[in-house]
Every structure is written in C-alpha cells, then in structure tokens.
C-alpha cells in the first residue's frame, strides 16, 4: 500500500473523468416504492440495461469496485476514496438500481465467504455490469423470522436440489444470478441447519412472478423453485453454517443507507419525492392552501421529522463507529424512519385532500401522494418490521428480558405457519 493515490488527487481525477464520461442524473420521479409512479415493464428493463452500460463505463474508467482488491477487478483503494468518489458523483447518473442487491449484500458476501474460484468468476463480472445479482432470502411463510426458512436443499451426487419459494425479491426479473438461503438439516436447532447457495436465474425450475402491491408497484417478485439443481461449487460458505453468512447478509443489507465501502453514489437513490418540504410547499401553493396555518403546520411537521431523521442517522452512525453505541443501535434509525415515513404519508394525504383521491392523467404528485398513502406501511414492514426493531432496542440496547421463544428444539418439530410447509 505504498503507492495509494492521494484522496485530493483522486477526487480531482474523478471530477475530470466524470465530466467527460458520465451523463447527468435523470430527474427522479419515483424509484422508492412509497412514491412509486410505476413505470411500465419495458421502461424498467431499459433502465436496467442502462445500469449495465453505466457500470461498464465505471469499470473501463477505473472507478468500479473502488475498495475491491485488484485481483478481483477492483481498484484496491480505501473507503475514503469511495466516499470522495461518491461526493464527486452528485449530479451525475450512475447505476443506482443495482447497488443493492448486486454489490451489497451479494458481492460483499462473496468477498467474505466465497471461494477463490467464486470470487474470480463473479466479482469482475459484477463490476463490469455483466452480472446483476438478487437475494433470495425471505419466504412466504415468515418475514422477520429469517432463520425459519423452509426452502430445502438436498444433497444429490456432486450437487444439490433446491425446492421451495422465496419472496420480496427486488427486481428479480432483471437479475442474472441469485444468492439463496436454504435448509440443509431439519433435525437440529433452526440456525444450525442452514446453507447459502448461488445459482443463475436461468436455471431450469426457477419461476419468477412479479407481486403486485396495493399501489400498483411490481418491483417485488416471488420465486418458485422446483427441483433446481445447483452445483456444490456454487455453495457459499460451509454446509449448515449458513447463519454466519446470513448475519453478515443482514448487516450489509442495512448499510445501503450509508457506511458501506461497496456502494457507489447514494445507493439505490433514496429521495423524498413529494414529501420533500419544498415539493410540499409547491403542492400547497398549487392548491392555494399555502396561506392556511393548518397546512403550514403539516408542512413544518413533515420537514422537522425529515431533519430529525437525518440528524439521528448521522449521530447514531458516528456513535457506533467510535463504540459509543453498540451495532444494535441501528435499530433506532430503522424505527424512526418507519414511524417518520408513515406520518409523512398521512401528512401528504391531508395536504392533497380530494386531489389524492382522484387525479388527472399526468398529475404525478397527486398520484404519488394518493398511492403513497395506500402503501405507506411498507416503511414499517420492509427491511425488518418496526416491531422487530422495538424488540432489538428493548432487549439488546436496554437489556430488558427477551421474548419467549418456541423454536429451540429440532427445526422439524417447531410449529409453523401453514404457508411454511412447502418442503420435501
């Protein structure tokens, strides 16, 4: 590490390169599900193709995988270089939609648990935009209880046969490869019988169906896995040690909002859409209600909550970095973002009034405020429910007694939801 490029110099080079090679950022109208305006499938597919092309440009320019070791196609630089790059990237388009799941958690997990062969084979392909990865983790039978997976993998000669169903996979239809959690031993405690596999989404027996959400979004998918044959060399981590992988999986997943050395730009482009205070002011002005103190109180409350969220994320991240708070403190950010988002959705609805109930074609703001309200609980459910976050805070941070569990014995005997029986 003697000839690592100086951050300032790197930033200056980045600035020049970006100006010559990357297009300006498109106007974002809705990539986050809460404000989604649901572009048609052709547009979504085109966007993923664009992401591949933009990723290739980053790779050719020497800016893909900034912190990834050079032997896997990365640049071998430091997280500070990635941060500097992200700072310079503001205002430019970048492959936002593939940051999660391709680079986190999938690439990060391959770096930590993959074999040398797996790293050589996949990581350069990811960095070139040739392999988009998706995560097959949640199941129809259980959301928060990740370790209760019932998708099974059975050894068969040199490979494995996987059967089951996975759910809540973001943009699975546009992916190439999957990282998948499966049960390989039913006769031990549930955390000790899990294994992680990887396979191409084109493997026979993989069926992907979009899930239509109540706001019309089809971003999420459910997968049906029927006798999917996976080579043993595509197993990630040790047999029955899948929970070690999942622990890191969940960790990396949470770093999408900040703190990951593998994420380019601002991750999957989070934005406030119509809930941004300036947008709310514009909406109220358009409706002629901006002078109404009740309207102003709502806008002020929404903006205050956004600022608190920003301050909380900064403060908790910093405190965790210096050890002033344990890693479990991240649950406070998760809880606050959930409660903040549902309140903002309610405020947006009140602000729009009848316009959020029926709108003209092209009235994107009102469409978002109306359907954003319908789907608002997503912010308290997706990525771990707020109930789970409250358990983590009270048990891990405050040391209050743990909830009673009924799953300590062999997994085969653990009572399950009727949906969680599709096994062999």
């Amino acid at each position: 590490m003697t000839d690592v490029i100086d951050i300032e110099e790197f930033a200056a080079q980045t600035r020049t390169w970006l100006a010559e090679h990357m297009p300006p950022a498109p106007r974002v109208t809705g990539s986050f599900v809460l404000t989604s305006t649901n572009p048609p499938d052709e547009l979504q597919l085109a966007r993923f193709e664009k992401c591949r092309e933009l990723q290739r440009r980053l790779f050719d320019g020497g800016y893909a995988g900034i912190t990834v070791p050079q032997q896997y196609g990365g640049q071998g630089l430091t997280p500070a270089h990635q941060t500097a790059f992200n700072r310079e990237l503001v205002g430019y388009d970048y492959p936002a939609e593939i940051q999660a799941s391709t680079f986190i958690p999938c690439m990060a997990l391959l770096l930590e648990f993959g074999t040398e062969e797996q790293k050589q084979r996949h990581i350069p392909a990811m960095l070139r935009g040739e392999e988009i990865w998706v995560q097959l983790l949640s199941e129809p039978g259980g959301g928060s209880d990740t370790a209760g997976a019932v998708t099974s993998a059975v050894r068969d000669g040199d490979g494995w046969v996987i059967n089951g169903s996975k759910m809540w996979t973001t943009d699975a239809r546009y992916g190439d490869w999957a990282m998948c959690l499966a049960r390989t031993n039913w006769d031990v405690e549930k955390h000790r019988g899990l294994t992680v596999f990887s396979f191409p989404l084109t493997t026979p027996g993989v069926e992907i169906r979009p899930i239509e959400l109540i706001n019309g979004s089809t971003e999420f998918c459910q997968e049906f896995l029927t006798d999917v044959v996976v080579a043993d060399r595509d197993r990630v981590g040790e047999i029955n040690a899948g929970w070690d992988v999942v622990t890191r999986w969940l960790y990396h997943e949470r770093t999408i909002s900040g703190g990951s050395p593998y994420v380019t730009g601002r991750g999957n482009r989070p934005h406030d859409g119509p809930y941004d205070a300036m947008e709310m002011i514009a909406t109220a002005r358009e409706l002629g209600t901006l002078g109404d103190p009740r309207t102003r109180a709502l806008i002020g409350e929404a903006h205050t909550l956004s600022l608190v969220m920003k301050a909380l994320a900064e403060s908790v991240t910093q405190k965790m970095a210096v050890g002033a708070l344990p890693a479990h403190a991240a649950a406070m950010m998760r809880l606050f973002s959930g409660t903040m988002n549902i309140r903002r959705a309610a405020i947006g609805l009140e602000l729009a009034g009848s316009q959020a109930a029926a709108w003209q074609v092209g009235d994107d703001t009102f469409a978002q405020l109306g359907s954003g309200y319908l789907i608002r609980q997503v912010s308290c459910i997706g990525g771990g429910t707020t109930e789970m976050a409250r358990n983590v805070i009270s048990e891990r941070l405050l040391g209050m007694p743990r909830e009673h569990r009924n799953d300590a014995g062999p997994f085969r005997d653990v009572p399950r939801s009727p949906q969680a029986t599709a096994t062999r």
Partner: protein
Amino acid sequence: MFARTADQELFEKTTARYLESKYPSDHVRDLARMPSAFNPEAWQQGAALGWTSLLVPEVAGGGSISGNGLLDLLTVAYQFGRHAAPGPLLPTNLVAAALARWGSEDQQREPLSGLIDGSATAAWCGPQRIDDPCGRGTDVSAQTSGAELILSGRLSPVEGASDASLLLVSVTEPSGRSYVLVPLPAPGVQCTPLTSIDLTRRFHDVTLRDVRLPVSARVGQAGAGDTYEEIMFDVLATLRAAELVGALQCCFDMTLQWTRDRYSFGRPLASYQEIKHRMADMRTALEAGAAITLRAARAFGDGAPDASVWCSAAVTYVGRAALEAIQDCIQIHGGIGLTAEHDLHLFLRRAVVDTQLGGSPADMTQRVVHLLETAQGARG
C-alpha cells in the same frame, strides 16, 4: 449525551457532580417553598466552572471549549434538565451572548464581566409568540427624548427578573425594534411574581413605567432588533431542547429501573412486550432529540444558512416528543407517578416550561415553514 471530546466530557462531568451535590431532589422540593430559588453563591461557583462564558468570545472575556460555545453549553443545559436545577442559565447566557455580539465597549466591560464571573445575572425580555414575524415584538415602546430613552410597557412571563441585575428588553421604536439594557433596580420597573408550573425557576410580570435611560443603553443599532431576535431565538431554542433532552433522560432512567423492580402477576413489568416497545420508542425519541439538538448547535456554530431551520426544528421535535414521553413515564409508573412524592413531576414541570416559553412547538413549526419559504424565494 452531547459531549463529543474528552474536554467536553470532563466539563460535563464536573457540572453533573456539582449539580448532584447542590440540587438533590429533596432540596429541589424545598426550593418550591422558598421565596427565591436563586443561590448567589452556588451560581458564582457554577460561573467559575464555565457556565456563563461559553457564548462570549475570548476577546470579550469569555471562551469556549471546542470553538463552538453553543455546542459546549448543550452539556450544561442537558445537566440542568437532568437535575431540574434552577438557573438562570438560559437568560444569563442569552444576554451575555447579546452583549458580546452587539454591545458597546462600555456594555462589554462591567455588565458583561459581571455576568461571566457570576456576580450578576440577567433576564431576557423578548417576545413569547414568534409565529408571525411581522406582528412580533413586545408591548414595550421606547420614545427618544433628547439624550434619553423612555421605556413603557409590560412583559410577561420573564424568568429570573427579581434576582437579575440586568434586563435585556426588546422594544418598539419609531425606527423599528431595538434592544435596550436596563440595569436594576431602576425607577419605574416593577416585578410581580407569577405562579408557575416550574418549582425551581421563578417567573415575573415586568412592568416598565416611564423608565428613563441614556440612549447609550441601546444594545447594538436602533432598529436592528428583528435581526438580533432571530439569533436569540436560535440560541434559546437549542438550549431549551438540550434541557428537555436532559429532563427526558432522567425520567427515562427512572422508568427503566422501575420496569425492572416492579412486579405484577409474578413478572417484572420489563418482561411485557407492550412495556418493552414503549421503552424502545422512548429510547429512540431520546436519541433523536439529542441528535437534532446537537446538529442544530453545529449548524449555528458553523453559521450555516439553514441554521435557524435546524434550531427551530430541534425544539419543535424535542418539545413535543419529550413531553409525550415524560407523560408516558408517568403512565408506566401507574398511580405512584401521579403523586407529588415521586420525582417525575419535577421534570415534567421543567419540560412544560421549556416547551412553552420562548416559542411553543406550534410557533416554531410555523417558523420552520416561514424560513423555508424565505430560502426558496431567495433561491429564485
């Protein structure tokens, strides 16, 4: 909660230890029965610890720890909230900051040095309603007559007026609003005690009847009061928020301990998920409140263009969240939480005052929107 450097930590610890020894809860209750809660000796010792110098630059006799005095002062305000300690911490610091920023050379000598060394305290007589920036102001008018200013009007409630040797009054002049420093006692100034929710801080109705002062009693420029007031509100909002975080911290700690000690149906309260989840919400509100308060103090110290938005948002959020959370602490305590014997009400009282005086959350919310609109207009 607010200390980020070793120096700040030491400073905060010293203050915490001092307040613990001076203001244990029994003593705080006793203060309620005394005509004045102000203890000149204790205040002067506090001043020696650095409570009154942080918002004043070194050249004017003050000095901060980190370079951002407001950030440092958060640690003191937080501890004052945690101990429900009497001040007058906020008004004295506010007036000291005003004199240091806008005061004449004379005003930066004796009056300011007295505030810094603790031999004197001050009361701030600013407006209580801040939601309408155009219709703001106090009911005090100032007429110029030769080399004299004549002040008349009424202000209420004013913290610590009877113990103060200085009043900083926001007045309306024909040229606009101005700040005037009134040394006490002064003929024509009458302080009538008010009954207050707070047991340790005292509030007064201050009436000025033809109070004559030299024109040199103005602080800063005539007519610049509106500009000054924005800064006063920012400082006050941030310090109020820090006190509220301290009050909530104390109630939260008591309540968490209570859930462990109290058993019902053979189980500790802490084992019920409903209680756990409410404690989780409270812990998050505490962290969030501290975070935005710290962020506001940073923005203020950095002179960020949106500092006023951050400061207003801090007290808006903490004001509402802390009050609700402290009431929930009472709820979780059950009947005992409603008794005067339990300490919880000492902090609820402190929190109510901190929330309502100097711009309620509702007022401050309006200020947030007004500032956003102004910023949007400035941007075109």
